[in-house]
Amino acid sequence: MSELSVDHLLGIKHLKNDDINLIFDTADHFKKVINRPIKKVPSLRDITIANLFFENSTRTKLSFELAQKRLSADVINFSSGQSSVSKGESLVDTVNNILSMKVDMVVMRHPNPGAATFLSKHINAQIVNAGDGAHEHPTQALLDTYSIREKYGEVKGKKIVIVGDILHSRVALSNIFALQLQGAEVMVCGPKTLIPKYIDKLGVKIETNLRKALEWCDIANMLRVQNERMEISYFPTTREYTQQYGVTKELLESLDNEITIMHPGPINRGVEITSEVADSDQAIILNQVENGVAIRMAVMYLLASKIK
């Protein structure tokens, strides 16, 4: 197979396992490219990509922009804070205005779940979802899964626990889909209030005790507590959350198995993981960031070949 089965990257849910393998194999080549003295290829030199960020982002936006520049695409950036969206313009109008400037691909982050899917039905450009509310964040899941494949050789049969705020996390949902497609076992772990009802229907294990979860797994993906999405209190205090769900060096050393620690960022040091753990050899957090550029290059390269 040499072509994606989809025209847009809206979510992992729409992908097949072959699509993921194709993205990973292509990312392998791009990872070599970005480690050369000259880190650029001319593949997308006649393509213009708009990055529309209706919600704050640092690393995802930088990573996408760097990936676009490494592919020689022309890039325009948009952040909702400085735009006419605050003057009451609708999403379709905003995007159509941008597209009339002859843009071929749109990378969008939006606070509302389904925003990318909605857009793909109304405009004529390839869409990459860079996070839609608490729904999906496909490129993050791809780079997480790719980082596991890179470290262990394959994802199949690996046990991964996703720890923390599952309820508000788009990373968790996309990760569950991607890991399961690749044949991994997935567990979610966190306070009951932060684990969505019916998540067991997705075929994931649920555990509320962090130690038990870590003893079971090969890899722990630590999520951030998304205070900005919480309108009510889901746990008594941050200090109590850290005591129960924070990973420390002592905890890791007391386990029989050596596990790998991942984090999609941004890290709240001292809350979900301590600095010692984040900076240790067991953590592959910075590898994830590097792989993010290669994965996003692969996704945009493969989608660009569908532009007619």
Partner: protein, 179 residues
Amino acid sequence: MSPKVLLNNKEVNIILHRLACQLIEKHTDFSNTVLIGLQPRGTFLAQRLKSLLMQEYNLPDVQLGLLDITFYRDDFRRSDKVLEANSTEIDFLIEDKRVVFIDDVLYTGRSIRAALTAIQSFGRPSEVELLTLIDRRFSRHLPIQPNYRGRQVDAINDEKVLVNWKETSGEDAVYLIKN
């Protein structure tokens, strides 16, 4: 129509020896020369020439790299197929080296144009030469000619030149196929 044999096993062998000798004539001991096989089809020829140079002509060390030009091609989004990449394996510096590109068939010259761009990512070579087994005359889109050629053939555009190697097809031979 059945395929026409352009080169049989024996002829390919003779040509490989001649090409190896021509390379030695120009590059002597290969101390500052690197061979670059173009992915995917040029790699067999490149590997064959390397082992010939080292085993038959006793050169101490011939450096060989494999270059993939997929991301540098000028027909991205213009062909119906998605261009699938191969791996690039160049674990030495090209800076100030004499580079010999090796490919099986020279046709329009566009792959070589892409390779000339791609190689710049690895440094600035002091010179670049081109070696091809088959040179399809009269079909060039760009002003590119080989420095070393195995055999020149006249093939019209709806004909295809197929190069078989022992490693993949069990025989060394070159065919002309009519579509």
